[in-house]
Amino acid sequence: MNDDAANERARPVVLAVEELCKSYGELRAVDHVSFSVHNREVVGLLGPNGAGKTTTINMVLGVLAPSSGGIRIAGVDLARERSRALARTNFAAVYATLPGNLTVAQNLRIFGLIYGVRALGRRVETLLHEFDLEGLRNTKCGVLSSGEQTRVALAKAMLNEPQLLLLDEPTASLDPSAAQLARARIRELATRGDCGILWTSHNMYEVQEVCDRVLFLSRGRILLAGDPKSLPREHGAGTLEELFINLAREPLSEAPAR
């Protein structure tokens, strides 16, 4: 184990997922998935459509009950102490935009109250400044551009200074320039902040740029895990995208061992 890996392991675990399963009748959407996210670490959850990424994220967010297995957020059992566990997390997803009939500042104030944020007025002002939203504070979220909505979603996700941040394709609807700025901001959060990030994306370039570690999910199982920069070479692929395609098309029985 090198020094970087040792340091990473020494950081506290902010998300521990153990033997997580979700079945819909005969269909196993998530099948005995186990992984962890450490403080100041960005972990990419990759996989083709229908692999179980969003299902996994929904279970971590407490809006979908697992069939079996456990989730601990910053050491708190989600099943037993839902409110305490979710107070330590937050999320942004392209499919969960904030209510469009409220302004940016109103949405931040409301969710700040729901998350029980202290000194809320000051926190909202800080986030409006940090995410370059001061000029849009009184604009209704429904009329914002995709890039602006993503910034608002990220500001909302940082309201409670979460120990665990879940980002489900946060840059999916952004142009390359806006996506690059969003990535830099998120990377900065992980570096200087006190949180771990679980990130899903279909953009392998983005994953290589941002993630410290990736997990390849296919048909509900983790097929592969490791450093996105060295994984392709280790598995005989030229790029992460090539490795992704190989894995996505491979039958489960032939997939490489974790």
Partner: protein, 267 residues
């Protein structure tokens, strides 16, 4: 239960109303129209009836109380539907917000909005049509309390229906008060109803309110025991409806209904 998350739910509804006259108008417009229509109707009935019955007190008073109940129910339901319409479930339920805090927030909003409607109705009915509502005396308090509790219960039941059956089931929710009104004996004694309808009426808390209200305005003795029974029923039904909502929410979390709740995916 924590106050901050409840305040968040109330603040959301306040912002929506403050920024939208079309949300504020229905709080008093429809009840005002109801009072005006029934006010003139009772005036006309008073002028053609020979029995000396005061229809203003019995009919207009009943309309006012029924509209109060309807506004309470709709206050809870509309608050919930605002989250359906803006696809806000994932944002809301992936937070530390407890179901009891969410429902309490909706109830607090409903109290504020229905009180506005009640004041408008009282002012109109008293000043324009001479309804002496306070002639009901101290009994007005338990009457309003029973209708308030049952309105909350029905609002939570309606919200549970929409959560379970999908956004399209919204059309089934609006006529719920109208569906109950024939059984509740809003305008006539329960003895007018056939036996099976009377049996249903006895399970509805408002039927005890309207029975006693008619007795008071016609100067007949009223049965306090019946009103107590109505109050107990309202509390019981409120608890049952809240429990039903919690169960539906659990079902939605277990089956994935909540995570993919949109108009397109269900209903």
């Amino acid at each position: 239960m924590r106050l901050k998350p409840i305040a968040g739910i109330v603040l959301r509804q306040f912002y929506l109303m403050r920024g939208s006259p079309v949300r504020v108008l229905p709080m008093f417009a429809w009840v005002a129209i109801d009072i005006i229509v029934w006010g003139f109707m009772t005036r006309y009935l008073n002028s053609v009836s020979s029995g000396g019955i005061n229809f203003v007190a019995s009919l207009l008073g009943a309309v006012l109380l029924w509209d109060f109940f309807t506004r309470i129910m709709q206050g809870v339901t509309v608050g919930f539907l605002e989250d359906v319409w803006s696809r806000n479930f994932l944002n809301l339920f992936a937070t530390p917000l407890a179901i009891s805090e969410y429902l309490t927030g909706l109830v607090a909003t409903s109290i504020a909005t229905s009180l506005i409607g009640l004041v408008v109705m009282l002012v109109l009915a008293t000043t324009v049509f001479g309804l002496s509502f306070f002639a009901l005396g101290v009994m007005l308090i338990p009457f309003l309390l029973v209708l308030f509790l049952f309105g909350i219960a029905l609002g939570i039941l309606a919200s549970a229906m929409v959560l379970r059956l999908g956004p399209a089931s919204e059309w089934m929710v609006w006529p719920l008060p109208a569906l109950l009104s024939p059984f509740a004996g809003v305008f006539y004694p329960l003895t007018t109803l056939p036996a099976w309808m009377q049996a249903v009426a006895h399970l509805l808390p408002p039927s005890y309110v309207f029975q006693d209200m008619r007795a008071i305005v016609t100067g007949q003795p009223y049965q306090l025991q019946g009103l107590w029974w109505g109050l107990a029923l309202a509390v019981l039904e409120l608890l049952l409806c809240a429990q039903l909502f919690v169960r539906v929410h659990r079902y939605a979390v277990r089956t994935g209904l909540l995570a993919r709740y949109t108009a397109e995916s269900i209903g």
